[in-house]
Amino acid sequence: MDFDLTDEQRLLKDSVDRLIADQYQFEQRKKYLAEPDGWSRNAWKQYTELGLLGLPFEEKHGGFGGGPVDTMIVMEAFGRGLVLEPYFATVILGGGLLRRAGTPAQQQALIPEIAQGKLKFAFAHVERHSRYDLADVATTARRDGADWVLDGAKSVVLHGDCADRLLVTARVSGDRRDRTGIGLFLVDPSAAGVVRRGYPTQDGLRAAEITLSGARVAPGDVLGDAGAALPAIDHVIDEAIAALCAEAVGTMQAMHETTLEYLKTRQQFGRPIGQFQVLQHRSVDMLVALEQARSMAMFAAVMAAEDDARERRRAMAAAKVQIGRSGRHIGQEAIQLHGGIGMTMEYNVGHYFKRMTMIDMLFGDADTHLATLARLGGLFGNVRAA
């Protein structure tokens, strides 16, 4: 049992940390936000050069064979930098789905393109009433000759506006919330019948609403068996949750450090406000929340590779609850302890706060995951699932 990084992981951490420190200062990030895509093409190029875009993929696909701990290292640094580029959408979600659901031919054709920074992906899944239920899919896919024809509407598709390819869930059979009958389709967003509307999200990232009206998909663009995609999606979302937990830890740590620095420098009543015990204690409680979150992000990273879907989901549910709770606490306290300056767009802490808030609401908020974990019987002792 150890929490050490390997030599390769330490090198990775050094280089990503340095990149974020050099390239992602608050003022630099503002410039990226103002670029046409709302993020930096130059930063994307640097991620490619550093090998980050190929990190979790097999070497035969131009990747580096990294695991969830490597992803954790990158995402934590990205959380500190409030990174805007479509890394999560492309590498974690898109690449993950190809890796876990794609045919060898699809993997061979597409994963190297991700690793080289040539193709960006988005996962088009959420619908108007699906909330956080991964099995709730109303978009339909029906056969027409050899092709599939997709109809439906997808919401809040992360980085869907800039994606070169969409991975769309659609129902080939069964009722709206059945666990079987869900297919995963590779869709070119410029194809006929696909309309997308991009927009900024609360945290400065991007998303899109996507409508599919008779969009045609060739048989070679179905991932795996049409209708049996859900287990792979479940696993990829669990990996995505682990990645978000790591990003959240980076964000929380930045908020805690920024607040601490402020307490040490802000003078009121003739002394630094950090000398007031009430603020000291609140700052300690932020640290406690941070360390608990860090522990669960590590747990999530270790469990992300677990093949037993039930054990994995238990771990991810627990981690996401902890991240959500700690994130709310640290974010709200960071703003409060800063006072007025924390409320302004010109200061960094509010931007961390907003990103943290959105992370809580992605792929299941804390309440949703608490209910999941409770249903699965909790973490200790023996209780049958409800």
Binding site: M1, F3, Q280, S295, V302, L373, V383
Partner: protein
């Protein structure tokens, strides 16, 4: 990063589990599980079984009966012991005075006290707090005046846990009233049978008799009972308080409580189903389990880090163990009350023996007293507010 233990470590855990569950009498472990008070005999019996195997004083120097275990082994030993509801070895003996004597005592004191302390032939209590010296411990006023080859001790200690069982008390006393408050304190050992000592019980809100006042009226203590140097007692006290870092989280004990709550909640019914099937109850419990899992991971981080860290340098993560560990222990006692429901009301403690037959299910009896009693865990050993002061200063640099 690898959370798997080695084969040797797993074997060790299995060995510990088997030993704790077969060699420590079930009747004693049941009392711990139910939160029923242990008799002195229970504590001594359990400790002697551990000591016979060399497992009572694992944190001591090897030559005095300690084990040269890795931090992982110490973690597993504590975790399995707590999960098996084995009484923790008497803390005053094992984590407090024993290590101080082993570190700072002279050879004669080590020979005289350590073997008996390990075997609970001497039952120790701790004379630190005073009526006017709680969180501000260094302000203590109980004085020891040197007269020839004796100290004459006068003053009062309070919150002295299990003084009614104790054969000896280790005390912080003021030996130099003129010095700065931390610099005039000495650490001395006093036989509780010495004339002039009076023990008065304090009944706590759970109806229990754990703590006492101890009065010293011209108590004569031989100077050979001074540990280390005169006026250096504060250093020894800090050493003592810094000794126990990972066990304080009580993760294993909380795991045992979760398992018990689940077991009892499947026996209680709400409407037409067991309480354990009530989604709201399950969520409340799951919320605490998550905090507990996070704390266990934090504790493992501290354990892993301890292998690399020079002794005496606290890990930032260790600071949260007491804060969070105490909160979780308290939350679990609340959940246990929720399980019991209306049978929480009958007070069935201070009768002569037990009130037979028990009113309601027998596991109901101790639930409320345990909740009342556990308010102490965020107060003792440096209140959680003092812990926050320490973290703010030592870790956050505020």
């Amino acid at each position: 990063m690898d959370l798997n233990f080695t084969d040797e470590e797993r074997d060790f855990r299995e060995e510990a589990r088997r030993f704790f569950r077969t060699d420590i009498p079930q009747s004693i472990r049941d009392k711990v599980a139910e939160g029923e008070g242990l008799t002195k005999d229970d504590m001594v019996t359990s400790q002697r079984i551990l000591n016979a195997r060399g497992w009572a004083t694992v944190n001591w120097p090897v030559q005095w009966g300690g084990q040269s275990w890795s931090p992982v082994q110490i973690y597993m030993y504590q975790d399995e012991m707590q999960q098996a509801n084995v009484p923790t070895p008497i803390g005053f003996n094992v984590t407090m005075v024993g290590p101080v004597i082993a570190q700072f005592g002279n050879d004669e004191q080590k020979q005289r006290f350590l073997p008996k302390t390990a075997n609970a032939d001497i039952f120790w209590c701790q004379g630190f707090s005073e009526p006017g010296s709680g969180s501000d411990l260094a302000s203590l006023r109980t004085k020891a005046e040197r007269k020839g080859d004796k100290y004459i001790v006068n003053g009062q200690k309070i919150w002295t846990t299990l003084a009614q069982y104790a054969d000896w008390i280790f005390c912080l006393v003021r030996t130099d009233p003129a010095a700065k408050k931390q610099e005039g304190i000495s650490f001395i050992l006093i036989d509780m049978k010495t004339p002039g000592i009076t023990v008065r019980p304090i009944v706590t809100i759970d109806g229990g008799r754990e703590v006492n006042e101890v009065f010293f009226d011209n108590v004569e203590v031989p100077v050979e009972n001074l540990v280390g140097q005169e006026n250096k007692g504060w250093d020894y006290a800090k050493f003592l308080l810094g000794n126990e870092r990972t066990g304080i989280a009580r993760v294993g004990a909380s795991k045992a409580k979760v398992a018990r709550i689940k077991e009892l909640a499947s026996m209680e019914r709400v409407g037409d189903r067991p309480l354990i099937d009530d989604p709201r109850f399950r969520e409340k419990l799951a919320a605490v389990e998550i905090e507990l899992k996070a704390l266990e991971m934090t504790q493992l981080r501290v354990v892993a880090d301890e292998r690399k860290r020079e002794k005496g340098k606290p890990n930032p993560a260790s600071s949260i163990l007491k804060l969070k560990g105490s909160a979780i222990q308290q939350q679990l006692t609340e959940l246990l009350m929720d399980v019991v429901g209306p049978y929480i009301l009958p007070y069935q403690r201070d009768f002569d023996g037990r009130n037979e037959p028990v009113i309601g299910p027998d596991y109901a009896t101790e639930a409320a007293p345990m909740y009342f009693n556990y308010r102490k865990v965020s107060i003792y050993g440096g209140s959680n507010e003092i812990q926050r002061n320490i973290v703010a200063k030592a870790i956050l640099g505020l």
